[in-house]
Amino acid sequence: MSEYLLLIWMFFKIGLFTIGGGYAMLPLINSELVAHGLMTQMEVADIIAISEITPGPFAINAATFAGVKLLGIPGGVAATGAIVLPSLIITTLLARYFYKFEDNIIVRRALWGLRPAVTGLIAAAAAVMAAPAFFGVGISQIKPDGIFLNMDYCSIAIAVLAGIAIIKFKVSPILIILIAGALGVLLFGVLGL
């Protein structure tokens, strides 16, 4: 029972402090789930990829994935309900005072400060996530002297190609994930690099 309460509490917090949707949730997943050892950084990266190629909002997909993985189907339902609950309470309340909220100068100022900070948090999450993807270990375990030894050049090449594909050719994330997956099968699975 208590593990369900813990799961619900964690996802309630994640839902409550994710403002701006999507990737803004990542830093919270890192500090709630990864820091407490409930998920690995690799799994977080996998959920992002799975969310990009499956329908539905990222937040919901991530909650269902983590809940099912930790506590089976009831866990998935509990985590998903918990992440939606703050939205349901706060947004419904605001819907009644809709226009008042829009004009509220303090709220606008607070949001102004929030945007760059959340962007900073996403940047930090990207750096944290780059470590296991490019070096195979967590960011704290990277040793400066052996840095070139552990580098995964194939993964770095895939990331660079993906970056060029998004920026230069505006390829959709779905296609990028699928092609990167196919390259992964070829390079790591078939060729065993």
Partner: protein, 187 residues
């Protein structure tokens, strides 16, 4: 001609959007507009734009928030509940299946290879996401200070995101008040 508003139609529309929209919340918003503004005529365009703006500035998933606002506007609390349920349900069912599949095959050499490739691409997606968020901010030194402070506190000092978000709200309000005072003093 607007069709009659009913709870079941709100639910079914939300369900359809939840089941067929790839790419998360941002991708879902235009489809909401298409269904509720153009097809059914239940919501005016102006209301829709306000709802989109509001759903990005309150906690939670953008698509869910937008659905809740639409549902509430149409049928109060019951409307909000069925809209949220409709958007969530397809993800819940689909991701439950995907998670079991993931657990079963993630050790397979080819699946593991695919995931390794995909993780690299995800890093690129993330960097692109934060660069596009950063773009409108980089000329504002105060915003850039907030950006680097949050980045460093999180990455170097390992401070919890929740604490940083509280700090950012306090910072936003303080900086906002100071700016208003300055504008008034200068004029």
């Amino acid at each position: 001609m607007a069709k009659d508003v009913s709870l079941s139609r709100i639910f079914l529309t939300a369900l359809k959007l939840g089941a067929f929209t790839f790419g998360g919340g941002y991708a879902m918003i235009p489809l909401f507009e298409d269904a509720f503004v153009r097809k059914y005529g239940w919501i005016t365009r102006d209301d829709m734009l306000n709802m989109i703006a509001l759903s990005q500035s309150v906690p939670g998933a953008i698509a869910i928030n937008c659905g809740i606002l639409i549902g509430y506007k149409l049928k109060k609390l019951r409307g909000a509940l069925v809209a949220a349920a409709g958007i969530v349900l397809p993800s819940l069912v689909f991701l439950t299946i995907v998670t079991f599949a993931y657990e079963a095959v993630s050790d397979d050499i080819y699946v593991a290879g695919a995931l390794r490739g995909v993780r690299a691409a995800v890093v690129a997606l993330l960097f692109f996401a934060f660069f596009s968020f950063l773009k409108p901010l980089y000329k504002d030194w105060l915003a850039m200070t907030a950006f680097f402070t949050a980045f460093a506190l999180s990455l170097v000092f390992g401070i919890s995101s929740i604490i940083i978000i509280f700090g950012a709200v306090a910072f936003g309000i303080t900086a906002g008040i100071l700016r208003i005072k300055k504008e008034r003093g200068g004029s």
